[in-house]
């Protein structure tokens, strides 16, 4: 075939594939915005639900999701990063570390409802945290651990080897080397993992179903041992469990969830670009 022609075809096909990826995202967004925007109001965002959720706002669900996501991140990021540091910087390639790596990969493939059951068994029942923000956060945290460990590992492995060699040759200890010559340069990649984890933790319903989510709880949680409403579960409830909820309220709730995830991601991305600008090689 004429190279000019094949070039054109290749270009067109690749462009089409890209558009096909973008298209659903745009359509989903458009539908949600079109159907839900009319529900958004000050009252909707900042007041309690009333009359069996058919009126009032979704504040407890918004705050609940925020707390859960923050809790999950606070639990999973330090733990995941430390595990990644151990795997990359300290452990040598032996049977044990291969086993750990295999376990992490498998953990990533576990369906989220299994995490929910696990959380119910361990945190709610065994540790006796009950259905609470604590149990929910820990469950979500464990769910996002694999993605955080995996992306942290990749970030650490992409730091050039000579940073470590030079640092050690200057008499820095292993830990000083990690702390000052490796981690700062891996931070953007680690934050990417955090962003992915954030989105996932905010959106999942199954893991919070048995561990924290309240069907209808028109007050704000007072402590980490309280139950709480959460956006994804609330959305599920008003869409399928409670008849007669106005369509724009359902789509409005989805819109809020989507916006919340986007805002959290945005914050993390801004943070990341801060670090990128400071550290370049």
């Amino acid at each position: 075939m004429d190279p000019r022609r094949s070039q054109k075809i290749a270009f067109a096909v690749l462009l089409l594939a890209t558009l096909l990826v973008v298209l659903p995202v745009v359509v989903i967004l458009a539908i949600i915005v079109a159907k839900g925007a009319s529900a958004i109001s000050w009252d909707f965002l900042f007041s309690m639900p009333r009359e069996g959720m058919s009126a009032g706002g979704i504040l407890p669900a918004i705050l609940g999701t925020l707390y859960l996501v923050l809790g999950a991140v606070i639990f999973a990021v330090p733990l995941g990063v430390m595990a990644a540091i151990y795997l990359v910087e300290y452990s040598s390639d032996n049977r044990m570390s291969r086993l750990v790596k295999l376990a992490i990969v498998n953990l990533a493939g576990v369906p989220s409802v299994v995490y929910g059951l696990f959380g119910l068994g361990i945190f709610v029942t065994f540790f006796g945290f009950g259905a609470s923000i604590l149990s929910g956060s820990l469950t979500l945290g464990i769910m996002i651990l694999p993605v955080i460990i995996t992306s942290s590992r990749e970030a650490l492995e992409s730091v050039p080897k000579h940073f470590r060699t030079v640092s050690l040759s200057l008499g820095a200890s292993r830990w000083q080397t990690i702390r000052h010559s490796v981690l700062p340069h891996a931070l953007p990649g680690i934050l990417t993992g955090m962003i992915l984890g954030l989105g996932r933790a905010a959106g999942e319903t199954a893991p919070i179903l048995f561990t924290v989510a309240a069907f209808y709880l028109p007050r704000l949680p007072q402590s980490v041992f309280d139950q709480s409403m959460a956006l994804p579960y609330h959305l599920y409830v008003i869409s399928t469990q409670v008849p007669g909820i106005a369509e724009n309220v359902r789509y409005g709730t989805a819109l809020v969830l989507l916006t919340l995830v986007l805002l959290l991601n945005l914050a993390a991305i801004v943070l990341r670009s801060r670090f990128r600008r400071k550290k370049k090689w």
């Binding site: 060699t165 008499g171 550290k279």
Partner: protein
């Protein structure tokens, strides 16, 4: 007889089953430049990395024999690696400053070893840059990224980076191989300047460099030290025919 800085006795080094250094005996004089030459793969870098024990980072390395620095065998149990590396600085083949500012590169070692107060840093940075003749070029750019410097400047910076630790010994593994000829000459001048205060061991592939810059030269072949003598002797009337063949370019 001049003072000895590094005394190597019956040194053997193995990478797993492969013996990279065999029965090396060598006394490296203080405050002189010692060059290690030999064909590729003969063990020059390996020997250099023995002196600050950077070979420890490689899995499966085994060492026998003694290397005495400051009266202590650095392979004796209980040796503090961190202070050994403080005393024995290393400059690598490729200029490899950290992707930090010039200033941060130089204070890195100070911070790691807590050697000075913060308010002394500025003076130490100036002194280090002066020693490598970079101060006038860089005094306005202390807080620019070190990666914006020319390669020669970067390599000078890498030398400056080890100086604040007040090392006794500087190890340089082909420090000029990424530099152009004039930068190479500049670094050699710098080495002659630095040898007043430091023992310098340099690995080089460049016969001219060894003969120009060093006081003593060791010739390694297949992990053995074939000959070690004054540089002039090695390059004019070596005792071994193997050495003679190598420096005259007949092999390697």
């Amino acid at each position: 007889m001049s003072e000895t800085s590094i005394d190597i006795r019956a040194l053997n080094l193995f990478y797993g089953d492969f013996q990279a250094l065999t029965d090396i005996h060598l006394s490296i004089p203080a405050r002189q430049i010692t060059a290690l030459i030999g064909p590729s793969g003969c063990g020059k870098s390996t020997l250099l990395r023995v002196f600050n024990r950077m070979n420890d980072l490689i899995d499966g390395v085994r060492v026998t024999g003694e290397v005495v620095i400051n009266g202590k065998n650095i392979f004796a149990p209980g040796i503090d690696l961190l202070s050994l590396r403080e005393k024995v600085g290393m400059v690598f083949q490729r200029p490899n400053p950290f992707p930090l500012t010039v200033y941060e590169n130089i204070v890195f070692g100070l911070a790691v070893h807590r050697l000075a107060r913060r308010n002394e840093y500025a003076d130490i940075v100036e002194q280090a840059l002066r020693s490598v003749l970079l101060w006038d070029d860089l005094k306005e750019r202390l807080h620019h990224s070190a990666l914006t410097l020319s390669l020669e400047q970067q390599q000078r910076l890498c030398i400056a980076r080890v100086l604040p630790l007040k090392p006794q010994i500087l190890l340089m593994d082909e420090p000029c191989s990424a530099l152009d000829p004039s930068a190479t000459l500049h670094i050699e001048d710098l080495m002659r300047e630095l040898k007043k205060d430091y023992t310098i061991v340099i690995v080089t592939h460049n016969m001219h460099q060894a003969s120009r810059a060093s006081d003593r030269t060791g010739f390694l072949y297949l992990g053995k030290l074939i000959e070690f003598d004054d540089t002039v002797t090695i390059f004019t009337k070596p005792a071994q025919t193997m050495t003679e063949n190598y420096i005259s370019g007949r092999f390697g």
